[in-house]
């Protein structure tokens, strides 16, 4: 069908543009079979390139060997373990020192949701507020997956985790996830966006913009990363899970630029039922009707809020370009 044809043209185009470049991680990393985070890592670093210092705070990313083990390196760019808490601060020092010496080096973070939004949030918020020139990628697998799938601030309502078990009176996590990318948007960053590996062209476009923005100020890219081990679904289904999360509005794709405000990357109208997404995941299989209703309501409210913000964003844009638009019309 024509729609599919367009899609293959897209994937082939990305391959033709970027496929020839060397993968800047070593061939063997110890990510789980079918790890979505490993997809994000390899594409991101391939795109960002070697003139980079890469920070990977404790979590799955260094856990799979990105920094290395016992003297053996996992990356072909300078790479380090920050502390779980100080990624943006260490990158601040690195970027500023190179800038002082007249060198433009990309300061890149590949951080999990805990290192970004929970225990790492202070340094992230501080660096964003100061407008440090950093490209901060949060790989959101909605929990502490490297340590055995415990709850984080990013874990969604109702989800089973190792610290929100399903047993007796406990029915998984009792709170909704915090919306970290929206929190970052309110910091007034140079660029904030959400992305998914199921929408790779969109992800590559956002990497382009984020990379460019990180030359001027703080760029934050939030990429959803379904976790086959912690979320309990078959490895082969990872992209399918990622796709359904977006199609159901469970994870909405949007971007923010100071000059344009917020924009939706994809329509939020007519989403597939969120239950289509939930039923793919073992971490949700215990949900009762009340919990499902809560999630449906929360997903709808979030989508509505994001839609409203996007409407305001467009308004600003239209206002700013009114003369030009009229001329075209």
């Amino acid at each position: 069908c024509p729609k599919d044809a367009l899609k293959f043209v897209t994937s082939a185009r990305l391959f033709n543009r970027w496929g020839d470049l060397e993968d800047l991680f070593v061939p063997g990393l110890g990510g789980c079979q079918g790890c979505n985070t490993e997809i994000i890592m390899r594409h991101t670093l391939r795109r960002v390139g070697p003139n980079t210092v890469l920070a990977t705070p404790p979590g799955c990313i260094p856990g799979m060997g990105s920094v290395g083990y016992n003297g053996m390196a996992g990356s072909k760019v300078p790479v380090f373990h920050p502390l779980l808490t100080n990624t943006a601060s260490m990158l601040t020092g690195i970027r500023r020192q190179f800038k002082r010496k007249g060198r433009a080096v990309t300061a890149l973070a590949l951080a999990g949701d805990g290192g970004a939004g929970d225990v790492g949030f202070q340094s992230l918020s501080g660096a964003a507020e100061r407008g440090e020139e950093i490209l901060f990628v949060c790989v959101d697998n909605e929990g502490y997956m490297n340590t055995g799938a415990q709850r984080s601030g990013s874990t969604s309502f109702g989800a089973w985790t190792a610290t929100t078990p399903v047993s007796g009176t406990s029915r998984g996590k009792k709170q909704d996830a915090k919306n970290l990318p929206l929190l970052m948007m309110w910091h007034g960053c140079e660029y904030v966006a959400t992305a998914s590996t199921a929408f790779m062209e969109d992800l590559y476009e956002k990497l382009d913009k984020a990379l460019a923005a990180s030359e001027r100020g703080f760029a934050y890219l939030h990429i959803y990363s379904p976790c086959t081990s912690g979320w309990r679904f078959p490895a082969a289904s990872n992209i399918e899970v990622a796709r359904k999360a977006v199609e159901s509005n469970f994870a909405v794709l949007w971007e923010y630029q100071p000059e344009h405000g917020m924009r939706l990357s994809r329509s939020i109208d007519d989403p597939v039922p969120v239950t289509e997404y939930l039923k793919l995941l073992g971490k949700f299989k215990h949900l009762d009707a009340g919990q499902i209703a809560h999630i449906e309501r929360h997903v709808a409210e979030q989508a509505q809020l994001l839609g409203e913000l996007a409407r305001i964003g467009r308004g600003v844009e239209c206002g700013a370009h009114a003369t030009a638009d009229a001329a075209v019309m």
Binding site: S89, R96, E129
Partner: protein, 408 residues
């Protein structure tokens, strides 16, 4: 309204310890300074910020959102090749502990002032050395200053020590909160060219770097119970311990060259004051030594054969120099400005007792604790310390500490 005053660099200053520290920073020409305010360090951060704003100091200034980030920014900067500086104390140091612990293990030659402050609780904002004493096992070089001039001079020397290739360790320059941080005296400012010559060109990341021109993995996972990990981990720990021991000679050499170039000499490790013919001595650390020496002089006039031992370098512990001093007397009273909870005494008292193991004779060693949370340690307090220590010559040594300010 702010006045813009044409700034010329004076030769003689009348300033407090925090301003002196900031001048030490100016002279050391760091690439990056990160700060977060905390009493009694705040004015030091303000002076540095002012010097950057005035163009007196050409450094990148990062006003981070907390001490944890302050030191983390410097980690990044040092790994990218920067000479770096910060200052903190007390709760700030406690909050900074996570990157603080890591700094020496990455062998980053960061210089950090600790404007010593007591620990909470009870809630307090005043001087005391509980902060630095609590972190003395973390692997930083720790130097303690007695005077305002020494604060300035020691900060410059600290870079020389930290960046020595046989050391490559961070250095804490301690100066007592309140009495040194805010105490104003006359000091002299060393000549910039002479300082430049003394310090040489910084080369802080020759051994570990985050630089696209020299890619490497920094701090990969190292250890485990099998494979090469355990021995690798031991190798780095041993190297760190060696670096600490190497620092002892480097500290001595730096002070000797300082005296030669700038005409001001300080005992680099352990100072002996009127010790050679002494029967007994009091041991001090930090700014309290001034009043202690006055008390020793007064006691000498009364015919008491008492001397004073002052520790400048606490880490690495100068065992040989300290034992050499202890061997000259028959009893010591150790005055601490902090508490060692586990031994019901003071931390320096604990160190002294450990050093006594290496002495020819096992002499009595009394713990005296004073100057907590901003309390003053006056000559009168040292008169008492001397009297209590004199009693050890003819009587038993109490197991309990003497709390010098308990009746103030």
């Amino acid at each position: 309204m702010y006045e813009v005053v044409e700034k010329t660099r004076p030769k003689v200053l009348v300033c407090d310890g925090n301003e002196a520290a900031a001048w030490g920073v100016v002279l050391s020409r760091p690439d990056m300074v990160a700060v977060y305010p905390i009493t009694p360090q705040s004015s030091l951060a303000e002076y540095v910020a002012q010097f950057v704003a005035d163009g007196v100091l050409d450094a990148e200034l990062v006003e981070a959102e907390g001490e944890h980030s302050v030191l983390s920014v410097l980690h990044g900067a040092a790994l990218a090749g920067a000479r770096t500086y910060t200052a903190s104390c007390g709760q700030g140091l406690a909050f900074m502990f996570e990157p603080y612990f890591r700094t020496p293990n990455l062998r980053l030659p960061i210089v950090m002032s600790i404007v010593n402050r007591d620990g909470i609780s009870p809630q307090c904002v005043w001087g005391g050395q509980q902060d630095a004493m609590t972190v003395r096992e973390v692997g930083w070089v720790q130097l303690f200053c007695e005077t305002v001039q020494e604060v300035l001079d020691t900060i410059v020397m600290a870079y020389r020590i930290a960046e020595d290739r046989s050391v490559m360790l961070p250095v804490n320059v301690n100066h007592d909160g309140n009495y040194l941080s805010n105490g104003i005296v006359r000091i002299e400012l060393p000549d910039q060219e002479e300082v430049d010559d003394f310090l040489g060109t910084p080369d802080v990341n020759w051994h570990v770097a985050l630089d696209p021109d020299r890619p490497m993995g920094v701090d990969p996972l190292t250890g485990g119970s099998s494979g090469p990990g355990p021995s690798l981990f031991v190798r780095y720990r041993q190297g760190h311990c060696e670096g600490m021991q190497n620092a002892l000679q480097v500290i001595v050499d730096a002070h000797a060259e300082w005296a030669q170039r700038f005409g001001r000499s300080y005992a680099p490790l352990v100072e002996e004051y009127r010790l050679d013919d002494a029967d007994y001595a009091i041991v001090t650390i930090g700014s309290m030594a001034g009043a202690g020496k006055d008390a020793v002089d007064a006691a000498r006039e009364r015919g008491e054969r008492v001397g004073l031992i002052k520790i400048k370098t606490l880490r690495p512990f100068p065992v040989d120099a300290f034992v050499c001093a202890l061997d000259k007397v028959r009893a010591v009273g150790v005055v601490d400005r902090a508490v060692c909870f586990g031994w019901n005494s003071g931390p320096v008292h604990q160190e002294t007792r450990a050093a006594l193991y290496h002495c020819g004779a096992r002499i009595p060693c009394l713990s005296l604790i004073g100057g907590l949370a901003g309390a003053d340690l006056t000559q009168a307090h040292f008169d008492r310390a001397i009297a209590e220590t004199a009693r050890l010559l003819s009587g038993p040594c109490p197991r309990q500490p003497v709390w010098l300010n308990a009746q103030d």
